[in-house]
Amino acid sequence: MLLIPCPHCGDRPELEFVYGGQAHIARPADPSALSDQAWAEYLYMRDNPKGPHAERWRHTHGCGHFFNLVRDTTSDMILASYRTGEPRPTLAADPKGAA
């Protein structure tokens, strides 16, 4: 059971959270303008990286808010926690960060 830093409530046990999958996949503004392939990319295609992963969590049984984590999927160590809408932070351990 992970210990997850909620940007609002601090470190909380994983049981209070619901996982929300890969972060920073915005719903297209005009889905009808997308090809089937592009729509399938949005709906289904995921990075599934082995290493740092920016992902959504919701503190469902806490403050109720969504936020993002960068977590290393090879160790489950959490590298960063930030609010929804903020960019993926730049981290030494995470080459995919904001840069």
Binding site: L3, G20, A26, D36, R56, T60, G64, H65, F66, T84
Partner: protein, 1001 residues
């Protein structure tokens, strides 16, 4: 009669408290403080078990949780029967009944031991190579035979009545292990004010200090220092001491699982409380002080009862006052064995010989042994042991400088052989924490490398052997942990005076003359894995230690390789000619020691297994004889049978009541969401397929919700309470899902929208009144609201008062009849229900349940999400294309509906189905085919989604999803039932009142 192998004095036992117990029915006596193993040894019983594969007679090997041989079952009664317990861990209590296992008819005469005669043919992995012909014989003959021979103890046969508990706990510093390192760590950390938990798997805290004698700490004898240390810790409010508590698993982010045994050591009459408790401890910092495990030596006959670990023998002597024999041979692979020799000598036990398998051993302990007049023969190997169910001799031969074994074996009579190859650091928990172990050339063992979690190892578990080193290491670890957890720490030092041992040790098989058969040199005792088996695996091309483990099963017994892993590695290293560091270790998996299922399950049983959700009207339904069904966590009344009625009769009666008079139905479980804000309608437009902008206040609309993949996920009536306020209903099972989905879009996709969703599912009790007399019944109860069709037409909602309380009164129908849904605050639910019930009874009002509700809606062709839909169904598939707001540019799922597959001509569409035989009610899920009599696999074109006998129609009806169904009206298709293909007619999916007149009352 006092036990023959009990010493005159000494040990941490209470000799004044005699305890009676039985082993395989034989009555014996031990004393308070004994384990079953020590009590049996005191009675001269070494033979305690039989091995897994060859059923070889086995004695106790160790004195702790690493024991592979002495597995027993303990019976309190038929329901409290526990197999596979280690006699070394079973604490003796008055009246304890223990049984040996894996033998028939008795431990001494075991028929299964004839497997030993077949041993040459039953080498590692033999079962992969045979039992293949004839094909059918595996299931019927070979496998049952293998299974009957395998297994150890017997499963309990009755439900376990004992209680189990679970608890979350938090601390600044968790210290695992209460030996010298653990105590030093705990004392140091606790002095800083940090919250400290100290756990140890043993009944008494103290670890090796419970066995060690002769050393001094801070000038005190170890036992005195231990008592002081424990009383110091026990007096501190910031310290929790947990004996009988095994740290079994190290999980992500410093969560450690502890299993605490609370009543296993108590006589049955007192063992009434919680049996075991599982702790989930979140520790800021962890100090692992888990000690080290003694390694056996690998030589032929090393599994004979009476052959045991030297350090274990010392524990039996010093802690339990028991000697393993009267004339003892010691085989030393490390200095530690000499401590045993010296203590036994001091206790008056005859030492037949001390054979040191190291060519040039020396050191203070050897010198002390020699000084005591003991004969030490260095550079020896053991070529075998004698005896049947108890060792009677040991055979020794000298090892030449080149490593070959020379000369003639000399056989020395003895009644116990005590061996020690050295100590293996217990890196299990460190490894579970995902730290990588590294090979230490000097220590010839694996030790913890860099940490991943916030932990550190101290003492013997990281190779800091010796009392002084362990104390210093522990104090450092305790200080470092407390500091890392944010506490100011005063350094502590502990002065130790003890004879130190060298790190010199032995791993793998002892050298043997070429003629020696290695088939009886055991590496893994319980699973009967020998040196020969490991060589066979190497010969057959297995290179990875994981493969060798799996092929030979070494390390996979109930001790999980605690005594065997490093020796197996040594043998494999020798066989493959590769250094041990290159071969690597197998993964250490949790649990460190076995954990009771009940403890892991904790309090979660019966009604506490999962919440039982009941509505405000539930008790009324119980009182009126309802039969309930589980829907999610809810209990819903399924039907209300009268005496003698089966479900069909009750449902038919309930349906007719609704069609002819009125029915009352508890719809409280439906999900309800209050959506409020200036952007409420905009949000509804984006979420639901329907158009909401033009829905007037006070009016309702059937809402349909899709996933982004275009498939139906939920539905329900939505009422507009105000311009900026909607009352949304969802399915019972979908309530939480829908709300979560709304929050997701609101927070992450459209944060600019000013609208909020709040669950009101449990705020409202919902009482549905359906039937032509519904208005008549309600009219007398509702204040100041006109219920007439003109004032409150179908699909409208009004805020009113009923029986003096606020209600949201919906004019809706899920039955096709005139209907109302009375929403009242839940704590008034039952009272209002009873008022309506009283008012309605003169009009023929009857309660109905979910089953009648399903029939009524099926008669009208209304879908149920989860029954007509299955996550692969679009609105058009079930004839709900009309609900889609055509002018809307976008809504959740819209884009997916444009994908090619969603408009394929052969999509399944909702239709009605009539069987030719009106009495025939098809089973749910029967498949539809176009042509009868096809061989399998048939071409399936659809399936029945709902099927009922309809009292209103006087015949059966069904709904089905059929490929191209709407173009098949009137066609004859076939239902592929178990009895054969039955002709059916495709019809429109509205069976009753197709014009919808009745809903208007």
């Amino acid at each position: 009669m006092s036990a023959p192998y009990r010493t005159e004095a000494g040990g941490r036992i209470d000799r004044s408290r005699t305890l009676n117990f039985t082993f395989d029915g034989a009555r014996m006596q031990g004393v308070q403080g004994d384990t079953l193993a020590s009590a049996l040894l005191a009675n001269g019983v070494h033979l305690m078990g039989r091995s897994f594969k060859y059923h070889r007679p086995r004695g106790v090997l160790s004195a702790g949780s690493d024991e592979p041989n002495a597995l027993v079952a303990v019976r309190r009664d038929d329901a409290r029967y526990t197999p596979n317990l280690r006699a070394t861990e079973v604490e003796l209590y008055e009246g304890l009944q223990a049984e040996s296992q894996n033998r028939w008819p008795s431990l001494r005469l075991d028929v299964g031991a004839s497997a030993r005669l077949l041993a040459p043919f039953l080498a590692a992995g033999f079962y992969y190579k045979t039992f293949m012909w004839p094909r059918k014989a595996w299931d019927r003959f070979y496998e049952p035979f293998i299974r009957a021979a395998a297994g150890l103890g017997k499963a309990p046969t009755q439900a376990d009545p004992d209680r189990y508990a679970s608890r979350y706990a938090h601390c600044d510093v968790l210290v695992i292990g209460s030996g010298p390192a653990g105590l030093a760590a705990a004392l140091t950390a606790a002095a800083s004010g940090a919250r400290v938990m100290l756990c140890d798997e043993q009944a008494e805290l103290g670890g090796s200090l419970l066995t060690d004698q002769g050393a001094l700490i801070d000038g005190q004898p170890t036992h005195a220092w231990l008592a002081d240390a424990l009383s110091t810790l026990a007096a501190l409010p910031n310290v929790t001491l947990l004996p009988r508590t095994a740290a079994f698993g190290y999980f992500a982010h410093n969560l450690i699982g502890l299993n605490q045994r609370l009543t296993e050591h108590l006589p049955t009459a007192q063992a009434t409380g919680v049996r075991e408790r599982m702790w989930s401890v979140r520790a800021t910092e962890v100090a692992i002080c888990a000690g080290a495990l003694e390694r056996p030596l690998v030589f032929p006959g090393n599994d004979r009862p009476g052959v045991l670990l030297a350090g274990a023998a010392r524990t039996y002597l010093n802690r339990y006052g028991v000697t393993p024999g009267r004339r003892v041979a010691i085989v030393a692979g490390c200095d530690g064995a000499y401590r045993t020799a010296l203590d036994l000598h001091a206790a008056g036990v005859t030492l037949a010989v001390i054979a040191d398998v190291r060519p040039a051993a020396d050191g203070p302990l050897l010198r002390a042994a020699r000084a005591a007049g003991l004969i030490v023969r260095a550079g020896m190997t053991v070529t075998g042991t004698g005896g049947a169910r108890r060792v009677t001799s040991v055979s020794l031969a000298p090892v030449r400088a080149d490593g070959s074994v020379g000369g003639v074996s000399e056989t020395i009579p003895c009644d116990a052989v005590l061996m020690s190859g050295g100590y293996t650091p217990s890196v299990h928990l460190f490894s579970q924490s995902r730290g990588k172990v590294v090979w230490d050339d000097a220590l010839k063992t694996y030790v913890p490398g860099a940490s991943v979690e916030r932990e550190r190892s101290a003492g013997a578990c990281r190779g800091s052997f010796g009392l002084a080193a362990a104390l210093a290491d522990g104090a450092n670890a305790g200080a470092e942990a407390a500091r890392a957890a944010g506490f100011d720490v005063a350094p502590k030092t502990f002065a130790a005076e003890a004879t130190e041992a060298s790190a010199d040790s032995v791993i793998g098989a002892l050298p043997q003359p070429a003629s020696t058969k290695t088939g009886e040199a055991f590496v893994d005792w319980q699973n009967d894995v020998t040196v020969k088996d490991l060589h066979l695996a190497a010969r057959e091309g297995f290179r990875s230690i994981e493969h060798i483990k799996r092929y030979t099963t070494t390390g996979m017994a109930t001790d999980q390789g605690k005594t065997s892993n490093l020796n197996a590695l040594g043998v494999v290293s020798h066989a493959l000619g590769a250094p041990m560091a290159e071969i690597g270790l197998t993964t250490f998996r949790m649990p460190y020691t076995p954990v009771t299922f009940g403890s892991l399950a904790g309090v979660s049983r019966g009604d506490l297994f999962e919440p039982v959700r009941a509505t405000a009207i539930h008790d009324w339904a119980v009182e009126h004889g309802a039969v309930f069904e589980d829907v999610g966590a809810w209990k819903r009344a399924r039907y209300f049978p009268k005496a003698g009625e089966d479900m069909h009769a009750a449902v038919a009666r309930e349906c007719l009541a609704v069609r002819s008079a009125c029915g009352i139905f508890d719809a409280s479980t439906l999900g309800k969401i209050e959506l409020i804000g200036p952007d409420a309608a905009v949000f509804m437009n984006r979420m639901y397929v329907n158009a909401w902008t033009k829905l007037s206040v006070g009016k309702c609309r059937y809402g349909l919700l899709l996933g982004e993949d275009g498939f139906i996920v939920d539905d329900g009536v939505v009422g507009r309470i105000a311009e900026d306020r909607f009352h949304i209903t969802t399915t019972t099972g979908g309530a939480a899902r829908v709300l979560a989905k709304m929050e997701d879009y609101l927070q992450t996709e459209w944060p600019e929208l000013k609208v909020w969703a709040t669950s009101t599912t449990e705020q409202w009790a919902v009482i549905a009144l359906q039937g032509p007399k519904a208005r008549l019944i309600l009219e007398g109860l509702v204040e100041s609201v006109d219920l007439s069709p003109e004032a409150l037409p179908h699909m409208s909602v009004v805020e009113a008062r009923i029986c003096g309380v606020t209600t949201r009164l919906f004019r809706v129908s899920f039955s096709g009849e005139l209907g109302f849904e009375v929403n009242v605050p839940a704590e008034y639910g039952r009272a209002v229900w009873e008022a309506i019930w009283a008012a309605g009874r003169p009009h023929g009002l009857l309660p109905y349940g979910t089953e009648a509700m399903h029939v009524l809606r099926a008669e009208k062709g209304f879908i149920i999400v989860g029954q007509e839909t299955d996550g692969t169904v679009t609105p058009d598939d079930v004839g709900l294309g009309w609900a889609i707001g055509k002018a809307k540019p976008d809504f959740v799922g819209k884009r997916s509906l444009a994908r090619p597959a969603m408009s394929a001509p052969n999509r399944k569409q909702l239709v009605g189905i009539f069987t030719d035989d009106p009495a025939l009610v098809l089973e749910d899920g029967v498949q539809i085919v176009a042509a009868p009599g096809q061989p399998t696999p048939k071409r399936l074109i659809g399936h029945i989604t709902s099927s009922y006998p309809s009292a209103a129609l006087g015949r059966s009806l069904a709904l089905a999803l059929v490929q191209g169904g709407r173009a098949r009206m009137g066609e004859t298709l076939y239902a592929a039932t178990a009895e054969g293909d039955v002709p059916v007619r495709v019809t429109a999916p509205v069976f009753y009142d197709p014009d919808g007149a009745r809903v208007n009352g």
